[in-house]
């Protein structure tokens, strides 16, 4: 991925004012459901502490836990594969499928396979890949990536989905009732499940103690895809590990409540070994995660359980949409993960934040998101990736703020010059504040003057 300029992409998104507001409200609705669900849990804050503690501990001994997981999973009949990067991951998955002559794969949600661009890789090699989560199927039929990690089609209106289904699935022209459209997708995807030669899922949690992987869905698509075809491939990043089975209780109490406001997902399936006459393959992927573990600030983001709460609450995400980030994980967490991968391509993302801290407040594993966003900004400045005009502006501001007399002089000039300047000049294209807003009226006296009047010399 080449990355995008968040301000430019967001400008395109907000150009449709009505849709931007609709998107904002749709996500705020999910955020409110999360608030209701979390406040009904008396030990919510203690749960967040425990989740953060388990993740920190796991990361501190992750090599041991990975080996323990591999040993136990293998003992239960799973085959564990290791992939250093996306290319190795894709080659492993393709190898498993091609060796067994599988030409039809059903997939349930996996952000990791999006990260690795698995679908185009397999399709180029003659394998039909069907995303089976309803939202993912919708964006797949539109040849788009998901715009949100939990709500992949949150950017689309039901009329657009109705038209898409009319063209691709033969539903009635003009029909847009979600119930009708969901039923059509159920029938269409049920055939795909029945015809598939293998099912691929992501992994929500991998338990070192038992060698099991846990997959959470509401639709049941992961369950259809793993119980009908004889081959199940589960793809996971190394950070999905938890030490013990009892740790799952902590994360399962947090995950769905944070994501959608449900007390738990409909299906929480624990896989330990393959089904009778079947195969279970677990592909463990690094793809930059071990390097991130070495960074003492940004390693904390490896604790993310992909609930999407930071997106739903983020005032910038809600008003700019998932595609403005140009990375597979958008929003606050994506704005840390993406520049961690490629600082130059994603250098605008850490600035797509008001640093209000709402993401940190809702994060179920207590990632200090807004502090990491600030740290990532510093990293981008340190590496000289700020545009020249912004660098010059910062340098100038630095000088003005360093010397009291210079600051007072600048304020004195501004108070007189701004009211006197012609509007055309004042609201020129250089004034990005003035694009949607009026400048505040210039005060007659400064705070310094006011203070002196009341208290004498400062």
């Amino acid at each position: 991925m080449t990355g995008v300029s968040h301000p430019e992409a967001a400008a395109r998104f907000v150009a449709d004012d009505a849709r931007a507001h609709w998107h904002d409200q749709a996500l705020w609705w999910v955020r409110k459901k999360r608030d209701v669900a979390s406040s009904a849990v008396p030990d919510w804050e203690a749960l967040r502490d425990a989740a953060a503690g388990i993740k920190a501990h796991t990361l501190s001994r992750i090599g041991d836990y990975l080996e323990e997981f591999e040993r136990n999973a293998t003992a239960r009949g799973a085959k564990v594969w290791f992939a250093r990067d996306a290319a190795e991951h894709n080659a492993v998955v393709h190898g498993i499928l091609s060796e067994r002559g599988v030409t039809r794969l059903v997939k349930s949600k996996s952000m990791l396979t999006e990260e690795c661009h698995l679908n185009p890789y397999l399709e180029a090699r003659g394998i039909e890949v069907t995303d089976t989560d309803l939202g993912e199927r919708i964006v797949q039929l539109r040849h788009e990536p998901p715009s949100h990690i939990v709500l992949p089609a949150i950017h689309l209106k039901k009329e657009e989905i109705g038209e898409l289904f009319h063209q691709r699935l033969g539903t009635e022209k003009g029909a847009s009732d979600p119930k009708y459209l969901t039923e059509a997708a159920r029938q269409h995807l049920r055939r795909r499940f029945l015809e598939a030669g293998a099912g691929l899922t992501g992994v929500n949690f991998a338990v070192a103690e038992t060698g099991g992987v846990v997959v959470c869905t509401n639709e049941g698509n992961a369950d259809m895809g793993t119980t009908l075809p004889p081959i199940h491939i589960a793809c996971m990043g190394v950070e999905k590990l938890v030490p013990r089975r009892q740790d799952l209780a902590v994360f399962l109490r947090l995950l769905a409540r944070s994501a959608t406001g449900q007390p738990v997902t409909t299906y929480t399936t624990h896989f330990h070994g393959p089904r009778r006459a079947g195969e279970l393959h677990i592909v463990v992927v690094d793809n930059g995660r071990s390097a991130q573990l070495g960074d003492k600030v940004f390693r904390r983001s490896l604790a993310c359980i992909r609930c999407g709460a930071c997106m739903n609450t983020c005032p910038v995400f809600r008003r700019s949409g998932g595609y403005s980030y140009g990375f597979i994980v958008p929003g606050p967490i994506g704005s840390i993960l993406a520049p961690g991968r490629d600082a130059s391509a994603y250098r605008t993302l850490p600035f797509a934040s008001s640093l209000c801290g709402s993401c940190t407040d809702v994060c179920p594993v207590r990632i200090d998101l807004h502090h990491e966003l600030l740290a990532m900004r510093q990293e981008i400045v340190r590496r000289g990736m700020l545009p020249a005009w912004k660098r010059a502006g910062m340098k100038l501001a630095g000088w003005v703020l360093r010397f009291g007399w210079l600051y007072r002089l600048a304020a004195w000039i501004a108070r007189r010059a701004i009211p006197a300047l012609p509007r055309g000049l004042l609201y020129s294209r250089w004034n990005s504040w003035g694009r949607q807003r009026e400048l505040p009226p210039m005060p007659r006296e400064t705070f310094r003057d006011l203070y002196r009047r009341h208290h004498g010399r400062p």
């Binding site: 749709a26 849990v41 030990d43 203690a46 749960l47 425990a50 503690g53 388990i54 501990h57 501190s60 992750i62 090599g63 990975l66 239960r76 290791f82 992939a83 190795e88 989560d133 309803l134 939202g135 919708i138 089609a153 689309l156 209106k157 039901k158 979600p178 119930k179 969901t182 029945l194 509401n218 639709e219 049941g220 698509n221 369950d223 259809m224 793993t226 119980t227 009908l228 089975r245 799952l248 209780a249 902590v250 399962l252 109490r253 449900q262 007390p263 738990v264 997902t265 409909t266 299906y267 929480t268 399936t269 624990h270 896989f271 330990h272 089904r275 690094d286 071990s290 573990l293 390693r299």
Partner: protein, 196 residues
């Protein structure tokens, strides 16, 4: 395997100083009466709970279920409540389960805080049964209602580890404009009968 060794080495090289595992013993929620709380939680996720004082009452409750009354193909793994019309033992391929109207399965325990029921994979001749059936009925001992997920895993700790899952209500989606639709890929309804 070069990839395995390299990944493990990099993870060990870059891991931070060890921090302790937190104590989970003080977590959890206690309800005054977990059974009605369970029924309420299940209702909130789109399921229905029937509390039957004994087995005859449970049989009656099942026979009165609308989805059960019109069902043609019923697969049951709880013979005392329902014999079923699908010969599960005779089915070699889970694909043959397509078209089952109602599946009646035993649940090991029910979780009051979230409406979930633990279904042990060892009880299923085909894993697909719980998700491919149009409607799902889970039969659970009323004495097996636990408060929360911590208690649920503590109960499971003594058992053989294998395939199994929590099911909380019917299959659902809200992927089209956040409108909740019941019956995405799995069961269109989920009834839990608590017995005893």
């Amino acid at each position: 395997m070069a990839a395995r060794e390299e990944i493990l080495a990099a993870l060990r090289r870059n891991a931070p100083r060890e921090t302790p595992l937190p104590d989970l013993s003080r977590l959890g929620v206690r309800f005054a009466d977990p059974v009605p709380q369970y029924a309420e939680s299940l209702k909130s996720v789109g399921g229905a709970c029937v509390i039957a004082p004994d087995r005859p009452a449970a049989r009656r409750a099942l026979s009165e279920l609308a989805v059960h009354r019109v069902a043609k193909r019923v697969a049951s793994l709880v013979p005392w409540i329902e014999q079923g019309s699908v010969e599960l033992a005779a089915l070699a391929d889970p694909h043959e389960l397509e078209g089952v109207d109602v599946a009646v399965l035993p649940g090991e325990l029910a979780v009051a805080e979230n409406g979930a029921v633990w279904v042990d994979g060892a009880s299923l001749p085909h894993r697909a049964l719980f998700v491919i059936a149009e409607h799902l009925v889970l039969v659970v001992d009323a004495g097996a209602v636990v408060n929360d997920m911590h208690e649920a895993y503590a109960r499971l700790a003594g058992r053989e580890v294998g395939y199994g899952l929590f099911i909380s209500g019917p299959s659902k989606t809200a992927d089209i404009e956040q409108a909740l639709v019941i019956g995405a890929h799995g069961a269109r309804s989920c009834t839990v009968i608590l017995v005893g």
